[in-house]
């Protein structure tokens, strides 16, 4: 049995305070930590050292798949599987096949963006230790939390707590697993 708590949680009053704290915590070399806020804070990605999100790739691959699906589907249906002459025009024309393929590009691209976001965030998650913490419910209301996990290599109980208090946290507590 691991008796160690899951993480140490520090509460901040305003976005500027948590932005400064995040900058400092990253500077200290922590790795297993995160910031929880009711809305995305401008500049937080840079303060935490988060690189550009990869969601775009999922959407791009979705879009390319959608376009190819549309074009190939229409070519297969109207040329190969059931060829039928309409107004003496060629069996397949990329122009008349374009509108449905365009819509499928958007459809698949949108699914790529949403599902890519969920995949990168590992959502849906059925359980998270923080969601059991009563105080943490304020993270969706008006408080800002900085959480350092106890399995971070830099973590040690007393100095980490002291660091968070020094950074201006108004409330520090441990979160049970």
């Amino acid at each position: 049995m691991n008796e160690r708590p899951y993480a140490i949680l520090a509460e901040f009053e305003n976005p500027a305070a948590i932005l400064r704290a995040a900058d400092k915590v990253r500077g200290e070399g922590f790795r297993q930590w995160d910031v929880f806020t009711p809305f995305p804070i401008h500049g937080m990605d840079r303060a935490m050292g988060i690189r550009n999100s990869k969601v775009g790739w999922f959407s791009f691959i979705g879009g390319v798949t959608g376009y190819a699906t549309g074009m190939l589907m229409i070519w297969f249906m109207n040329t190969l599987d059931y060829p039928i002459v309409i107004g003496g025009k060629p069996m397949f024309s990329p122009f008349s096949a374009f509108p449905p393929s365009y819509e499928l590009t958007i459809l698949f691209g949108a699914f790529g963006a949403l599902l890519g976001m969920l995949f990168l965030n590992r959502l849906p998650q059925l359980h998270h230790p923080l969601l059991k913490n009563r105080r943490f419910a304020l993270a969706s209301h008006d408080r800002f939390f900085l959480v350092i996990e106890t399995n971070d290599p830099k973590y040690s109980e007393a100095p980490t707590r002291k660091l968070l208090e020094m950074l201006g946290s108004t409330h520090v507590e441990f979160v049970e697993e």
């Binding site: 305003n14 910031v35 969601v55 249906m77 109207n78 819509e103 993270a139």
Partner: protein, 494 residues
């Protein structure tokens, strides 16, 4: 210059002084409330009992929705003869309503996607409700082409699903493009709306008092914690969806317009249709957003979040798009005259413009059978939006409400004019006819309002009607570089 390079580096603090009183912009959230107040106020609407007006409206809406489904049942069991459609007008109310409802939806996507790309922060107070409006309007729209095919049980033939006849849909037809455009529009609008909802469903989950609510909202919030590593991916996905929705929304009504303009009929066969339909769609959609939100902000006491400034800005978009529509009308008439096509010229003068009082007698021609529809459309779509030039009118909620309803009426008549007038008199006078709707047509149209409002009222009941996280994000309290956000040295005035 040489001296400047030698001066030692000093920390410069840029302090911008406040603009003079009177030039200061009105804040997006009035009253100077903190971000917690936003949660309490917005989420509070969907918590607890709904007011009495909601119950009455809901009862009426459900009744009307039942009437709509009753009419569909009658149509299915008897046949399309219960409608007023007959030769030569084979596209009656169903297509008019379809185009009208789908146009309504366009404002929601414009607010959620295009205004997001343009960094219009005021959109945050209205985007959730407008997106919900989009989804429900597209649902109402989708019913009509489906029941219009006559034998509804063959509706699935519209989709490329293998069937026992071994045939496939014919993709050269714009009607087929429409199937893809509308179903993609509905799906992507739903995805975008749901993604915007995730953080707010987490708010509802965290505030829930009962186990059932906690479970229900928790299920749909999917374990959202508000982690910044999640927000980073989330914001990127939001941006991409906004970009995709932008190109989508411009294509949807363009493709709807191709249903008409690819044909040979005078009044339909014009290249102006795609941009003209999109502008009209956004115009009618903003009319509907105003119709919905102007009373709602008062009834739900949200005047400090959906402020008068928001209403004013929406009126300005209505004015802009309404003027584009007016310009398109002017161009249609100009081209009908300048283009020299006698059928086109006949349509615009003898079938549309000729009223029994001024133009008809002046030109010595008989009044057009549907002159009243044409003039209704011109008054509501060209004259009415011009009132929004006046600030006094834009800030008068009762007038805005009345004008917004006229916008919707006008746009419905525009669809009527395009569909019915062009069809009822084509090239051969022996082929002419007159269309009038039956009671089934009228009840079915009114019934879709029941469907729309049933869903909209349920939306108010269960989901935050304003994007809580997004409104929080545009307050000064959320800006880490603003004194209200806790910045010690602010780059801006407090």
């Amino acid at each position: 210059m040489a001296d400047a390079s030698q001066t030692p580096m000093t920390t410069q603090v840029l302090v911008v002084s406040a603009p003079p009183a009177g030039l200061e912009r009105e804040p997006l959230v009035a009253g100077g409330h903190g971000i917690g107040w936003l949660s309490d106020t917005i989420a509070g609407v969907a918590e607890g009992a709904m007011p009495a007006w909601w119950k009455y409206c809901f009862a009426i809406s459900v009744t009307m929705m039942t009437v709509c489904f009753g009419c569909i049942l009658y149509l299915m069991s008897t046949g399309v003869g219960v409608w007023g459609v007959t030769h030569p007008v084979m596209w009656g109310f169903a297509i008019v309503n379809f185009v009208w409802w789908i146009g309504i939806g366009h404002a929601g996507t414009l607010i959620s996607a295009i205004l997001f790309l343009l960094r219009q922060k005021w959109r945050t107070s209205i985007n959730r409700a407008a997106e919900a409006m989009t989804i429900f309007a597209v649902m109402c729209a989708g019913i009509f082409p489906l029941i219009h095919i006559g034998r509804i049980w063959y509706g699935w033939w519209l989709f490329p699903i293998p069937n026992s006849n071994g045939i496939w849909p014919q993709f050269r037809s714009p009607l087929m493009w429409d199937v893809f455009a509308v179903s993609t529009y509905f799906t992507v609008s739903l995805l975008f709306w749901y993604m915007g909802l995730i953080p707010d469903l987490a708010v509802m989950r965290d505030r829930a008092k009962t186990k059932a609510r906690k479970f229900g909202y928790g299920l749909f919030a999917m374990g959202w914690t508000g982690s910044n590593r999640h927000w980073s991916n989330y914001e990127k996905a939001y941006l991409i969806l906004a970009g995709l929705s932008t190109v989508l929304v411009l294509s949807v009504h363009s493709i709807v317009s191709l249903d008409f303009s690819v044909s040979q009929l005078p009044g339909w066969h014009t290249t102006i249709f795609a941009p003209y339909f999109v502008a009209g769609a956004v115009y009618s959609g903003f009319g509907m957003v105003l119709t919905l939100l102007v009373p709602l902000r008062r009834l739900l006491k949200l005047e400090q979040i959906i402020t008068v400034r928001h209403v004013e800005l929406m009126c300005k978009v209505t004015l802009l798009t309404g003027s584009i529509v007016g310009y398109a009308y002017l161009m249609e008439f100009f081209i009908a005259w300048y283009g020299g096509n006698p059928y086109e010229r006949f349509l615009f003068l003898q079938n549309r413009l000729a009223d029994p009082f001024i133009i008809g007698p002046l030109c010595g021609i008989k009044p057009a059978p549907y002159w009243w529809a044409q003039w209704m459309m011109i008054i509501c779509n060209v004259v009415v939006p011009q009132f929004f030039w006046f600030k006094k009118i834009r800030r008068n909620m009762i007038l805005v409400f009345i004008l917004s309803i006229l916008v919707n009426v006008g746009m419905w008549f525009e669809r009527f004019v395009i569909v019915i007038i062009s069809l009822h008199r084509d090239f051969l006078p022996s082929n002419w006819g007159y269309y009038s709707p039956t009671w089934v047509d009228i009840l079915q149209f009114l019934g879709t309002f029941g469907l729309f409002f049933t869903f909209f009222l349920l939306f108010l009941r269960f989901v935050p009607l304003i994007a809580i996280a997004e409104v929080k994000g545009v307050t000064p309290q959320a800006d880490p570089h603003h004194p209200l956000g806790g910045a010690k040295i602010g780059g801006r005035h407090p």
